[in-house]
């Protein structure tokens, strides 16, 4: 794991940005297995939380964040500012989770 400050803010109060390193991003495209899809299909009949898919997207966000941090680490950053998440549907039953932000060095 990387010790790194991740924030939605454009500036961190009381810290000075020493170096701006540009955009860093992390992305992953995932799907669940057929068993989970089958359960979700049943849930569609009776209603309720699609726990399998909640879990899937949660894992995907973690992975996307992780990859973004790895890229920032490679660039020598110690913080990522203005972090955003975005998603897009790639194929039926598969979603991309995309995280991006600005890698910086704070003093």
């Amino acid at each position: 794991m990387y010790t790194m400050l991740i924030t939605n803010l454009e500036y961190v109060p009381d810290r000075r940005i020493v170096k701006h390193l540009g955009l860093v991003q992390g992305s992953t495209v995932r799907s669940k297995h057929a068993g989970r899809d089958f359960m979700a299909g049943l849930k569609n009949i009776f209603g309720g939380e699609l726990k399998g898919y909640t879990e899937l997207l949660n894992e995907s966000r973690d992975e996307a964040l992780n990859r973004m941090m790895r890229q920032a680490h490679q660039a020598g950053a110690n913080a990522i500012l203005n972090v955003r998440f975005s998603t897009s549907s790639v194929a039926a039953g598969a979603a991309e989770i995309f995280a991006y932000g600005t890698a910086v060095v704070l003093d």
């Binding site: 540009g22 990859r67 660039a75």
Partner: protein, 272 residues
Amino acid sequence: MKLEAPKFDESQNPNISHDTSHLGELRAMLGYLLLTILLVWLLVEAIVWSLPYTVSLQRERAWFSFVGKHLLADESIKHDPNMQELADQLAVHMNLPANSVDVYISDDDTPNAFATFGGNVVLYRGLLNRLPNEESVAAVLAHEMGHIKHRDPMRGMTRNLLYSVFAAAFGSEAQLHNLVHLESLRYSRELEYRADAEAVHAVVGQYRSAAGVTDLFRTLQTVEQEYKVAAYPTWLSTHPATAQRIEHAQTIATQIHATQTPAALPNRWQKK
């Protein structure tokens, strides 16, 4: 603030898989797929295999007693005491317990016969009228009773249902469902051969000659010509080709040293 735009090393990009060999992944997934198919197959076949033991024919008959009532509700379908007597005689040669089968005759002109749930057999006048002798009537009756003995209506339906459910769980891919359909056809042909074998044993047991079975298939061949049945490839049919069924029946007849003495008894069910 110092502005820097470092060029990221693409070979280090954490967002892209750097595992250049996809073969390992493919092999693993094919392995999982094969394992899943094997497990599903074992599960379904085990359930279908155990069905006759978990649900006895007598219990099936109790559950599906409404089928007989439903059939009789149709005015063109009647119980026939003579045919029932023949069925009871054949049952002895087939090791079927007494009171396992109910036989009905439909006045419909369709040359057909079928066995369904609860040990019910329906023979159509359209087929009975075409059969040349009692032996061939016994052959078609014994064939349908063979289905009852092997519990084919229940096993066939359960098997198709289970495979369809599993196919549905794996998505709505048409190819998968086509495969399941082809497999159910293959299974159906297997059941037909087994029912044919029962028919040969029963007819030989009753009349000391396998000629009735051969006469039945000859009649089926003329019916096929008459109705100009499109020559479907065997793998798309529920029944094997009649020529192959003749061959199969004759092989069994030879194995049990049956004669082919021509059938002599008149067909009592023929209505001109």
